[in-house]
Amino acid sequence: MTTIPSLIRSQQTAEEILEPTPMMKLRRRVFKNHSFLIGALTLIFIITIAVLAPFIAPHDPYDQDLSRRLINPFWHDKKTADLYVFGTDKVGRDYLSRVIYGAQISLLIGFLTVLISGVIGTALGVIAGYFGGRVDMVVNFIINTRLAMPVFLVAMAAVVAFGASIHVVIMVLGLFLWDRFAVVMRSITMQARDLDYVSAARAIGCSTPYIIIREIFPNVLSSLTVVATVEMANAILLEAALSFLGFGVQAPTPSWGLMLNEGREYMFFSPWLLALPGTGLFLLVLAINLFGDGLRDVTLERER
């Protein structure tokens, strides 16, 4: 759903993917050259919060008590401000702590999804690029088949089939969001294959895996990172949408998407329950996008 249209993707080459997209050029114009800095700082901030959550969070995000449910946040209720700054949710858990831990969940889903999809996509891409010919054709067919599948709908079906949990969501998204990795790796590998030092390595009898791991990988790491940021933002938004419809992470996990799903019940009367996790999600995705744009600039400049 909130992905770059797959159609465009299928037509793309690696250069186009790594080339700044219209969206990125646009962001760059807005943030001038500060985009990398703003993105990186925000991202570091959110990661710090996530990592230090056990120390920062004023309460246990799972500690519930029905007798203190739905306490208003500090701007509505001065009395409880010191105890529950953002109030409590519908089973009496501290909302601030849940928002803080929510960063962990979103980042975890983002990272692990990208890890899985990165491995799949890279493997397919490298194989296709290195061997070419029929292998390449088969990989291309696999990529096209994957692109033809409506991600969101099939992800929902998979969640119904295997039961909703954070593992299933990560697995499903990981198995879906690898196409861009594959396209990029394929084309980069093709180029690298013909470079001098790779030919030299082959000439002195290095094995294929050795060449791929030792000679090709280091050269494509930065490109991989750029693709990873795009897919990470994607995965985080998809998880949120899945959890929002009840096809994602299970309660009581403090996922922002799930919190949006739960907070939705109170959208007309306690809108902060919707606004707070929504803001977290928004900031994280924005930061990842900006960071990715900036990284791409740095990468492209260095390579030129």
């Binding site: 519930q64 519908k90 089973v91 119904v160 309660a251 009581p252 019940e265």
Partner: protein, 510 residues
Amino acid sequence: MIYNLGKKLLSALTVTLITSSFAHASPEDNSLVIAWGSTGPIEHVDNYVNTNRTGIWFSRMVWDQLIYREPKTFEYKPLLAKSWKALSDTVWQFELRQGVKFHNGEAFDADDVVYTLNWISNPKNGVKVQRNVNWIKEARKVGPYTVDVEMKRPFPQAFEFLSGPITIYPNEYYAKVGPDGMHKAPVGTGPMKVVSIKTAEEYVFEKNKGYTWGSPKGEAQVDKMVVREIADVQTQIAELLAGGIDITADISADHVTQIGGVSGFTALQAGTMRTGYIGFDAAGRGNHEPVTKLKVRQAMAHAIDRKSLVKNLIRGDAGVIHTPCFPTQFGCDVNAAVKYEFDQGKAKKLLAEAGYPNGFDIDFYTFRPADWAEAVMGDLAKVGIKAKLTKMPYFALRDKQRKEGTTPMFLMDWGSYSMNDMSAITSHFFKKGPDDFALDDDVANWLEAGDTNSDASVRKANYAKAIKKITGQVYWLPMFNHVRNYGYRKELKFIPYQDEIPRFWQYGWK
């Protein structure tokens, strides 16, 4: 096919674009817009083709039964049948009411009753819910307004079916159009006539002006009614607040407080007989060792603060239930039940005795709002039991239970098909059917004896034994009866009922 699809697509496109005006009902033209969604779209409005649960509100508006069950006292009163008497253990004779007409003008008489009962009881006609009809042997016309109904065996719950899912169809019309025709243009004797049906979207009704023969159901209170299918509760509330609909029945307890606080709206809670319970895999179908131990189940029964859950999350006039059935139901003897008070100290002791002083991990399943399950999990965590929640859609969960049986613990509920008889709930779950996780021979035998005997005292005695064993063994931890929450415009005259059956035609404007 492609061509046809394209043509239909084109026409759909234009229709959607041209139809306009979203004038909503107002009290001035005596019309009413209702949002409905909790039970999901009616798959097919023919009462015998759908599962009854989805179609129940519809069927009560359009059709009538032979017998009326008074919704507050659960007494049986005349509806299409004027009177009845038992001719033998297995035969009832009904005197029918005269002067009743179907919506299409067809007069109601013995032929309609005989035709309907014989049609539905014939397995070839494929009535979806066979248990509703498979006890009927035959219906015979004795006079123009007299019918004998023969049962296959003594069947004490017969009136629950004759006052519930069995509605009377017009014989000539149904013979002509069949189920699909009935779906397109339903015809009955009920208080409202169908104007139009758009599956899963909206149903439009108008008042049946001829419904003046003194039906205990009462005449329709509004001239026109639109029932809209809106699955999403928040969308329903938005529509209510924005004036697009007049009443919703799907909101949560918190919404009741919130909507009740908005001027121009009223909200109320009304208890139903839907009974919530935590089921345990005591029979070990899924090989989860701890729950097969009685002491562990008892510990959990003591560990869960049901009172606090009811007071804080369910509210209304819901209460903690101690029986594996709803107390108004026939046979549901509260005194027979073993009760477990909230006592976490005792729970810990029992756990230690069972060999789990540090608790254990368990998978916990539900299809209901997660906060109820989360409250239970919070209590269990305090005695060391770590429950991991999986929330699934109803059908998926039920399927998992039946096929795999790998659900050691589950928070579910049962509405007893709105039947005021214990057989509709306890016998369903404890007679070693696919939903039975106790597989207890004694319980199954007692329930069978209770279900099939026509002597009320024998039935009660057997049911009491079953209740005692089920609660003593904690096969189920009965939780609470569900509450239905309603939000509506202040000017609406609205009556809720315990049996969960909405009677929309009784809603009107003050």
